[in-house]
Point group: C2
Chain length 193, copies 2
DNA sequence: CTATTTTCTTAATCTACATTATTGTTTTCG
DNA sequence: CGAAAACAATAATGTAGATTAAGAAAATAG
């Protein structure tokens, strides 16, 4: 069964009894995504938290010129959602799609809130991973304000070594905030230093 | 008593019984900060969550050239902390200081976790405000990637109208990620359009 | 109230990064 | 497999925003 990974993921922060595990997995639905297939589009309402058990997703928006800007990569063992839309149940601005053939487990907002109510441990779990995500995003805000493109690329390599050889460079460029052409230049300098 | 504001702040998301309110406020300590006085410095361990009841704080870091980059303004009715340091209890990279004479209420990490344990409602409260902060920070990451300085300034004016006339421009520049000189130029264009 | 410090404006010059264009390479897929 | 599409490298040119400098205005302190 494909639930080992998500139960392990939760187990990093809270301990679940067998019947709590059973209850939890009973709420999950599975969904396969082919490469480039969308889990969510701009202006849709996000109704689920998604946990990646295979493959890799990304969430991004489009600017007024149609360029993509990547908010998050979600490889295996990561959670993803348009948090603004999920919380407010208003149309969001994010696209979420698959960078390769992938599989996700979905937990609906309604079930998630019911879980919080029935078993506060789950609220603790999501409180903790939300805190961790907040720390990472605050770090990224400050990095974008205080580091050069060269330094941001170095940080990315350091922080996500497994993604570097896995993702097309243009995706990394759209994450650190430079054009693919400029990243190509940066990498050349990198090699010679 | 100066606890009305913080109880109201909490009351926006959860309902507390009188004895829960009493328990909560008994854990708070108050601290006054003169303008420019620090609540936290780089390399210190952050041991408290802070709630501003008077004045305005800011959290920022220094880049390799000694320039300040502002992560957050915390006016009256806002929470602030170095979340990375608070969670990990490792030395952090943030400075937190007062932009004007201010007063904060402090809740220690230990007491906060005890509260979570004794009364899950508090965990819900902090889960919710952490989610809201995450949404705001993700929005800011994408704005920094996809908007021009002009547009980021316009967003700031729209999102924090009360801060615009309250803060020195150089602080706003250090928040949106431009030099004060360039912001001055932007504002001139703004006026003539 | 005055002196000092901090903040704001303006303008000239500079640079990190964007844009555009071209060519070569790799991946995808029928 | 072979054709098409996506990706990457390189280089010439363009520009948003940085840097430097200097003076004016405002806030602060003594």
């Amino acid at each position: 069964m494909p639930y080992d990974l998500i139960l392990q993921n939760i187990g990093k922060h809270i301990h679940l009894e067998p019947q709590e595990e059973a209850r939890f997995v009973s709420l999950l639905t599975s969904r396969e995504l082919k490469k480039k297939q969308f889990l969510l589009r701009e202006n849709e309402v996000c109704r689920h938290s998604a946990f990646v058990i295979q493959g890799c997703l990304r969430s991004y928006n489009l600017d007024e010129n149609g360029f993509e800007h990547i908010l998050q990569f979600a490889p295996t063992d990561w959670w993803t959602a348009d948090m603004y839309s999920l919380i407010s149940q208003q149309p969001g601005s994010l696209y979420i799609d698959a960078l390769e053939d992938s599989e996700v487990l979905l937990l609906s907002k309604k079930d998630q809130e019911q879980l919080y109510h029935d078993c506060p441990k789950f609220e603790r779990f999501f409180r903790i991973i939300t805190e961790n995500s907040l720390v990472a995003n605050r770090r990224r805000v400050l990095d974008n304000l205080s580091l050069s493109a060269q330094q941001r690329y170095a940080m990315f390599c350091q922080h996500y070594p497994s993604l570097i050889n896995h993702l097309p460079q243009k995706q990394i460029a759209a994450y650190i905030g430079v054009t693919p052409e400029f990243l190509s230049k940066l990498r050349k300098e990198f090699r010679h230093s």
